[in-house]
């Protein structure tokens, strides 16, 4: 029995990581030979098909979206778990709605963003419209992972804190949050994944201009859109493959940075 369990667990892990390394291998084999200096030119032309502006945009887009979605998402999680009474109908409605929305294809978010941010609010195709749309898209993910992480914190810790006369706020920020942070972080990382990999929602909101943006109201394209745009007519397949490699590196970088910052943040919290 135990052997069977162990074999199954190891087999599953083996499958997961084989597929993963197969994908990474595929990306590298296809992409590495096509990486050349001209891809990193400051300005995009149809000759060099530079992906440099897209790198800059990806980083800006990710952090802007996280800056909007992470606080709102975590705070919403706080509200749902720590403030709203359990069995509260509203909480259940929100929970079900967030989970349901996580299954709506991103193109629907894109069309919504187009109608609301781009047209109604008059922001035009812009990084800002893109970031807001993406934020709405990843909110459910962050809210849910925050909720789960908070629920997993033992109540004895809350009791201890309340018992010392600490208010809710202090209890949440100083006791509960540090314990819950790893869980929240994994939600954030999944969110980053969606931001970095998103295409459909951004085409309709941030646009596809291959330039380094000079304001939040400029249109610009992320690496994923760059790749999509390059590949779609079958004209720049090699460059698209090279972009995938750079995309991987950027994802690793952004993930690393967010883990680093979360750890920093936590350290600060313990001594508060």
């Amino acid at each position: 029995m135990s052997r069977l369990i162990r074999i199954m667990i190891k087999l599953a892990a083996l499958i997961t990581f084989s597929i993963l390394f197969l994908i990474i291998g595929y990306i590298l084999v296809k992409g590495l030979p096509n990486i050349k200096p001209s891809l990193f030119a400051l300005e995009y032309t149809t000759e060099n098909v530079s992906l440099f502006p897209a790198i800059v945009t990806t980083i800006i887009m990710t952090f802007l979206s996280l800056m909007i979605a992470v606080p709102i998402g975590i705070f919403s999680g706080f509200y749902l778990v720590e403030y709203a009474k359990n069995g509260n109908k509203l909480v259940n409605i929100i929970r079900i709605t967030t989970e349901t929305l996580s299954g709506i294809p991103s193109i629907v978010y894109g069309l919504f963003g187009l109608l609301f941010f781009v047209t109604t609010l008059g922001w035009g195709f812009s990084i800002l419209a893109g970031a807001f749309t993406l934020s709405i898209m990843i909110l459910p993910l962050i809210i849910r992972s925050t909720e789960e992480a908070l629920l997993a914190v033992p109540d004895t810790l809350r009791e201890a804190s309340f018992g010392l006369g600490a208010g809710k706020l202090r209890t949440i920020f100083k006791v509960v949050l540090p314990v819950a942070m790893p869980g929240i972080l994994s939600g954030i990382i999944l969110g980053i994944g969606r931001i970095v990999g998103e295409t459909a929602a951004l085409i309709y909101t941030a646009g596809t201009v291959p330039k380094i943006p000079n304001s939040l109201f400029s249109s610009a394209r992320t690496l994923a859109i760059h790749m999509y745009a390059l590949s779609s007519e079958g004209l720049y397949t090699n460059e698209a493959n090279a972009t995938a490699v750079i995309l991987l590196i950027v994802v690793i970088g952004i993930n690393g940075l967010s883990s680093y910052f979360t750890k920093k943040l936590l350290k600060g919290n313990y001594n508060g």
Partner: protein, 249 residues
């Protein structure tokens, strides 16, 4: 003088009637102990005194509890209440942070930031709870690496660090050895000078040793409440007598 008055209190967990028509007054600067078999509602009543039951969703309460004449459910801010009415729990529950930060948590909560003052409070609280010598060299280590008994004493130190008026202790020594227990008992006696103390205990010797008044609970009812000496020597109720003489069950 009565520090706390409980008036006609009923408590339900959902439909389960956990406390039934409790009326009792708890005297100021005096040690009151709650005794009774497991499940009789001692912890529940204790928690009600600083409204820790608020945290349990399906817990509903009727009746009134007064602290210094003010209804704790109506006239006192709950955080202020809990600052004034501190608590030590049955299971040790140190925060997952360093020993120092555990003790400093309360004072910091109430606005003390000065490092020197905090250091003093931490040292004093740890000494008072008879654990200073064991941990003084590893104040920066996580409190979770300590043994059960040590953890519980950290929790007592943590409660003392906010200088409460009333101290609620739910079997605070159930995880301690006799020596630490004796120290805590001594400490409790000392604290009596300036604090009102309510202590839940299974150890009738302990109740007899430390407390001035004792309340005996059974199935959610307050069966008998009297001076400790009287209760243990000439109990009025047959059930109390049976319980304290071990003839019970």
């Amino acid at each position: 003088m009565d520090k706390i008055k409980i008036y006609n209190m009923d408590l339900y967990y959902g439909k389960f009637h956990a406390l039934k028509g409790i009326n009792m007054n708890i005297e100021e600067k005096c040690i009151t102990s709650f005794i009774g078999p497991s499940g009789s509602g001692k912890s529940t009543l204790l928690k009600t005194l600083n409204r820790m039951n608020d945290l349990i969703d399906d817990c509903s309460i009727t009746g009134n509890i007064f602290l210094d004449g003010l209804d704790i459910y109506k006239h006192i801010d709950v955080n202020q209440l809990r600052k004034r009415v501190g608590m030590v729990f049955q299971k040790p529950n140190p925060f997952p942070m360093s020993i120092y930060d555990n003790i400093a948590f309360g004072p910091r909560t109430h606005g003390i930031k000065n490092k020197a003052i905090l250091d003093d409070i931490v040292e004093k609280s740890l000494k008072d709870s008879a654990i200073w010598d064991e941990v003084k060299d590893r104040l920066k280590k996580s409190a979770l690496s300590l043994s059960g008994g040590q953890q519980q004493r950290i929790c007592i130190a943590r409660a003392l660090a906010v200088n409460p008026e009333v101290l609620l202790m739910d079997e605070p020594t159930s995880a301690l050895d006799p020596i630490s227990t004796a120290k805590i008992e001594d400490l409790v006696q000392e604290l009596k000078e300036s604090y009102t103390i309510v202590i839940v205990t299974h150890n009738m010797q302990q109740a007899a040793r430390v407390s001035d008044k004792t309340a005996f609970f059974l199935s959610g009812e307050l069966i008998e409440y009297n001076d400790t000496e009287t209760l243990f020597s000439i109990p009025e109720d047959k059930r109390t007598e049976d319980y304290i003489t071990g003839r019970f069950g």
